[in-house]
């Protein structure tokens, strides 16, 4: 393959989900190029240490670059706390890249790790968020370990309420653990850096490489390989991508790096890791009159992940779908000697929902009312602007039907261990998305600015093209993300693709239709396919959408503290479902992850900052035995968009943990404040 002239005609750039079940996927690790080197990364064995001397491999003396902050929740202004590509002077988490070595195969490059000599002076690490507040800054030049501090709403003095409840609630960090770990092939030839990568966003990767390595954007092309899941972890830049790209330019050879599962656990940004003190004020009826929150985000060692954004994002959503008139929340992201925090399916939404839903359950118990009734009481039948900055549609009608659709009343009578949750998902619409459609040789070829990493975007693309242009779906091909084919673009995260990429596809289709009409005076798909057209649009969107959702869970708790999930039901407003089977599939997958987070998943560190979660099994990824038969119902209340879509991808990880933990709480009779809920917590 001549790297500088990778053409869109190459059939292996097409995206087709059915490849995955036919064993025909084309992943990064399937790419083999002439003379390719394999990169292995030497990582810090210490959570915090001074590097006294460093010799061998490629290291910070060869490449002193800093990481650009790009992708979901990027914060370009993270200053001193920006991660270097190679550890410089200090290491700040176990697994931080210190040097890279290169050889013709993985065995040899792993052997070469021994050729790097590093002397460390171990320092006392800041491991927990409490440590972060109690001890001095981990980075020289900072005053303390507060990466960022945000407030939402206006402070108010505590009203004299009949009911005041306060609690501390927490989600442990969760490793994203897609089945395919991260990976990249970088190849520099004829002045062009070509990158193949497993990613949610080719444009973020390009932007990151261009900024970190100070490259001319015209000379960089990033192409997505088939991507075996991501769940948030593949939306942004990582040090290994910069190293591999730099090495391919330096050595003039293609360079491949494929993450091991162990590296994934230590060095890929995990999500959650959030705690909050929450106080609510309420009347005897169960009507909440005010809320105060103090949210802490475990940012990890650097501001390159999502932690800066998380502080204000979690704080903003703390009133959930409820009409709470007074609210004031502070959010602080705290630097600790752990791998930086990243987005994980929901990326702040599940955390905020966990805090409010746990408090509403506590309130229901306090006023001795059914939790569903307390929830309904606090929703409004009119749109509501929350004091924290959320725009909420009229919520009550949806939730009234949710209680019926989930048959909650019946379940609550029959079962002791039952929980229900309400939430509002606000998808990441801003700033929109791009799409390009090329018509040639009687076929339609489509590129999106954000790319599918397992969701099956091609289904909605085919459907929308068919609706707008009457073209049969089998003549439409979606291609994988490619910065060579879309000038600009955003990415797939935040439950956004069907909304914004869908809207962009609709707009491009309408442009094409007009082109055909201009040429022929009339439109038919035969005229379209007989012609040759190429249209691109970068569709800006900044509207706020609401996708309401509710879940029901019921459980039994055994004598060894084991939880058996009996029922796990969902009723979600997905807007117009562009493909019902895909929507239901996404919901089921997300429900499995919601169960995983609640029952098993966590990343645990000892007092030295060493990760004691040592395998994908330890990390608690849910197994078939954990899962009940899911019950999924969808409501299709169209959005204001031409194609009517709303968001869905993150709904289950928001709604399932809160319903499930309540069910366990009821079954066990123990107040539960933290995920994961372990057998040890429940064994009495």
């Amino acid at each position: 393959m001549n790297m500088s002239t990778v053409r869109w005609e190459d059939s292996d750039l097409a995206y087709d989900s059915s490849n995955f079940v036919r064993g025909k996927g084309h992943f990064v690790d399937d790419i083999k190029l002439q003379g390719m080197l394999f990169m292995t990364v030497l990582r810090s064995p210490y959570a915090r240490a001074r590097i006294l001397s460093l010799k061998g491999g490629m290291n910070s003396q060869d490449l002193g670059a800093k990481m650009a902050s790009v992708g979901e929740g990027a914060d370009p202004g993270a200053g001193i706390s920006i991660e270097p590509v190679f550890a410089t002077g200090f290491v700040n988490y176990v697994g931080e890249p210190v040097a890279a070595v290169f050889a013709e195969d993985r065995y040899k490059s792993t052997d070469l790790l021994e050729s790097v000599e590093v002397d460390y002076e171990p320092l006392k690490p800041v491991v927990t968020m409490d440590d972060a507040l109690a001890f001095g800054p981990i980075h020289e030049g900072m005053k303390n370990n507060i990466l960022v501090e945000a407030t939402k709403g206006d402070d108010f003095s505590d009203p004299k309420s009949p009911i005041v409840l306060e609690d501390t609630l927490e989600n442990e960090r969760v490793s994203t653990n897609p089945i395919e770990p991260r990976g990249i092939v970088a190849s520099y030839a004829d002045g062009i850096l070509n990158v193949w990568i497993s990613t949610q966003s080719v444009h973020s990767i390009k932007e990151g490489l261009v900024e970190s390595l100070n490259l001319n954007p015209d000379n960089v092309r990033v192409m997505q390989a088939d991507t075996g899941g991501a769940f948030g972890s593949k939306g942004g830049l990582y040090p290994e991508y910069v190293m591999a790209s730099y090495a391919s330019m330096k050595y003039r050879k293609p360079v491949k790096w494929i993450e091991t599962r162990r590296e994934h656990l230590t060095s890929t940004n995990p999500g959650r890791g959030v705690r909050s003190r929450v106080k609510i004020f309420a009347e005897r009826s169960g009507k909440i009159t005010g809320m105060k929150g103090d949210v802490l985000i475990d940012a990890g060692a650097y501001g390159s992940g999502i932690a800066s954004f998380s502080a204000q994002f979690v704080a903003m959503m703390m009133t959930g779908p409820y009409s709470i008139e007074k609210a004031f929340v502070t959010g602080r992201s705290l630097l600790t000697n752990k791998v930086p925090q990243g987005p994980y399916r929901g990326a702040g939404r599940p955390e905020a929902s966990f805090f409010i839903e746990r408090m509403v359950d506590l309130l229901a118990d306090e006023v001795n009312k059914d939790p569903a009734d307390v929830r309904l009481l606090n929703t409004s039948d009119k749109p509501f602007n929350s004091p924290l900055g959320m725009k909420i549609d009229a919520a009550r009608p949806f939730f009234e039907s949710a209680i019926k659709e989930l048959e909650y009343r019946k379940e609550a009578k029959m079962t002791k261990g039952v929980g229900v949750s309400f939430f509002v998902l606000v998808p990441a619409v801003y700033p929109g998305e791009s799409a390009r459609i090329m018509v040639r040789d009687g076929r339609i070829r489509v590129w999106l600015g954000g790319n599918s990493h397992g969701q099956g975007h091609e289904d909605f693309v085919k459907k929308l093209v068919n609706e707008e242009l009457n073209v049969p779906g089998d003549l439409v091909t979606l291609y994988r993300g490619d910065t060579g084919m879309t000038k600009v673009g955003v990415g797939s995260w935040g439950s956004r693709s069907a909304i914004v990429a869908g809207a962009a596809v609709v707009s491009v289709c309408r442009k094409l239709k007009k082109d055909v009409e201009d040429d022929n005076g009339t439109y038919s798909y035969e005229l379209l396919l007989a012609g040759s057209y190429d249209e691109f649009i970068n569709e800006e969107k900044r509207m706020t959408l609401n996708s309401f959702g509710a879940n029901l869970a019921s459980v039994e708790v055994g004598k060894f503290g084991t939880v058996r999930v009996k029922k796990c039901l969902a009723y979600y407003d997905v807007g117009r479902a562009l493909n019902k089977e895909m929507v239901i599939g996404q919901i089921q997958g997300g429900m499995a992850q919601g169960i995983g987070q609640t029952l098993h998943e966590g990343l645990f560190y000892n007092e030295d900052g060493q990760l004691i979660t040592s395998s994908i099994s330890d990390a608690g990824v849910p197994l078939a035995e954990d899962l009940p038969n899911f019950g999924v119902k969808i409501a299709e209340n169209r959005s204001a968009l031409p194609h009517g879509a709303k968001g869905v991808g993150e709904s289950p990880t928001i709604g399932v943990p809160t319903a499930l933990i309540r069910a366990i709480e009821k079954a066990s009779g123990l107040r539960l404040r933290k995920t994961p809920v372990t057998a040890e917590d429940l064994m009495q």
Partner: protein
Amino acid sequence: MHPSSFEYFAPARMEEALSLLSKHSGEAKIMAGGQSLIPLLKLRIASFPYVVDISRIEGMDQIKEERGFLEIGALTKISELEDSNIIKDKYQILHEAATQIADPLVRNRGTVGGNISHADPSNDIPAVVIAMKAKLEVIGRKEKRTLNADSFITDSFSTALEEGEILSKILIPIPDTRSGGCYIKQKKSAGDFSIAAIAVQMTLGDDYKVRSAGIGLTSVAPKPTRAVKAEQYIEGKRVDNSVAKEISKIVVSESDPSTDFYGTAEFKKKILGRIAEDAINLSYERAMVK
């Protein structure tokens, strides 16, 4: 995924294996099913210049009753143990342990001898052979010797095997009538190691009093543990709920779990207490009807 380089041998005969071990003394590692060794090698937690794969040696995978013993060849796969009709019918304790080891993929490759010789305190077979008072036959270049199951494993990942010796067979005394046993394993999720597990085997006299008992524990001490005091306490007694409770307390007092990823030491003791009570009751019930 990428171990450091090693030289690999797969001898077809025992003598060849023994001579390779002797030739590369101190630098060679025996591999049977490889289900514990390969993960250690691929993560480079361990490395050896020579690996002697004994899985091709013939005649070491027998399951048969002979001269008063159930004889199990060390290379018997865990799945063969699981599928054996003799084991299913007469040795429930072994069948229950075998079916709960890891997952079918591991059981298809992993061997009984490897499960014991690896001496992982969380491996399941050691507690069972301790409870059944088995003898382990070991072959060296010069001699064959027999060790008691409870003295075979000396510490975490350490055995009484001398350099160059191979565990060849497990000899379990065929239980008398009115014998019964069970293996109860409490784990976080399917395929995982246990939080705690217990093997109990007992034989009753004509008066339904316990004539002899064996109790082995998994995952609750640096090595698989024989609960000697609990065994002594139960002998000569009929089991009822209060006896079972008392024994479970003694079992817990003989454990020495550590706090780790699977939970705190206190939690493991709590689990052990509950499964010990269940295991004593179940074994007694089974012995009564045999």
